[in-house]
Symmetry: C2
Subunit: 309 residues, 2 copies
Amino acid sequence: MSAVTTLGITLGDPAGIGPEIVAATLAKLPDEWIRRVIVYGDRGPLERGARAMGVTLPEVMMASPGTGERAIAGAPDETTGAAQIGYLETAVADAAAGRIGAIVTAPISKTWAKRAGFAFPGHTEMLADRLGARDVVMMFAGPTMKVALATIHVPLADVPRTLTTFGVRRTIELVTESLLHDFGIAAPRIGVVGLNPHAGEGGLIGREDRDIIAPACTTCRTATVEGPLVPDAAFRMSYDAFVAMYHDQGLIPVKLVDFDESVNMTLGLPIVRTSPDHGTAYDIAGKGVARAISMQRAVELAVAVLGRR
Amino acid sequence: MSAVTTLGITLGDPAGIGPEIVAATLAKLPDEWIRRVIVYGDRGPLERGARAMGVTLPEVMMASPGTGERAIAGAPDETTGAAQIGYLETAVADAAAGRIGAIVTAPISKTWAKRAGFAFPGHTEMLADRLGARDVVMMFAGPTMKVALATIHVPLADVPRTLTTFGVRRTIELVTESLLHDFGIAAPRIGVVGLNPHAGEGGLIGREDRDIIAPACTTCRTATVEGPLVPDAAFRMSYDAFVAMYHDQGLIPVKLVDFDESVNMTLGLPIVRTSPDHGTAYDIAGKGVARAISMQRAVELAVAVLGRR
């Protein structure tokens, strides 16, 4: 077993649904994959998650600091907020050291992460920083569509001034590389979504579409790039991937058509990284009703991409 | 036949698909409705539209200035740009005079409208001005969902500073009235969508959700109002109507799930106004391939609402 084919799974906030969806996913994993997994998180919450979901945990390697052992499902606090970050830091250190080639992350609470001193808006930005990736892109991959984001956790008011031609171009490049190498698509077609209503209607409704986005939409040797597309029509068209300009422009359609089967994937990192596309869901944590399908798909995708890279 | 049960249909840009979708719609209308219709537009393009679509035009009342007679499908110019506005102005004058109780508008080109001296971003704003309505709301009604917009043709950069608690509240009120009286829903439930990613995540990602939108989401005697909802999850939930904060937040989901069956409806006018949810589609104009379903639904909805008001 080569180091790079080992997959880390972080438990996320032990007070959220992370332990349940990780337990349910592990229970369904084929043996040859289980042998390649390290779970970063504490055994207590994972076992409670398995009981809640009515599944039997397979034997799996764990890296358990013990900090989240006393977590109560649905009741996050400073301790669970710190524990979720501890799991992640350990996994990232192992990735940086070449011990794991992929990380699948269960949801953390951004609010409790911040209170625990976490300096990033989310997993993606933290992984980029720790693993020395200058440009990363968040892409959601579902059975129906793939959507990458040109901006991520940015207040809507700041989106227009955050967009640059260089940034949009770089996003398109990372998406192209991923479609080619991670998904094995030979001549990908990418649809770049506009920013303003009607993609600015020729400059009548905002200038960003014409001045910032259009110059980035150049077809290159390896991919066909079309845009800026009229946003409210774009997602009815067929592309190997879309590049959306902001969080909800991309997530509203992918969550609507691919429901809970879409997977969050970070492009541009030296390792593979995927995660389910939902949050900690404290309101249902511990009840055994969480749907593990997105977590399962996240692990399946990570395994598939690890195999292709 | 009372004046207020008469329905005006404007032909839109005679160089667009307007003549085709109006002709196809008229051809399918029951006789008792045809007798209540006035078409504002020229006979030449309408007859060419009917031929392109392979339908027989019924006898229908027309108000035809003759300005768009020489329009060529797919080739808009100053003349067709002015003609489309002429049709609209005549219809609106008849509405203001109490001769028609509803207007269904085929698509105009905003670019050519502007060149023809049209001072409004679209139909909606013009109708509000001419008919003396202080507050109007654009709502899209499809078989699956209804979505009203708190802001309309606003560059994305201007959306956050355009939103006010009063404006969002007023939008909710007009939607409530419409659900009650136009759609006959006794105790409507309205979902108000947030502005920022994760609805601001408690103020971490923008403050508008907490400071501007939340205070507007108060349940009143006649309706249940919930929000601000997390935008990327909201449209998977079930409400009688959503209030979206900006154009594409509302139109991306409704066009994705209700495809070409959604109808644009203007709330707050003294008359009923509906229209199809698409544009002039010059690229397919005259080819007989335009889908008339949204125009048909727009006329059906206008007739239904006229009957209820």
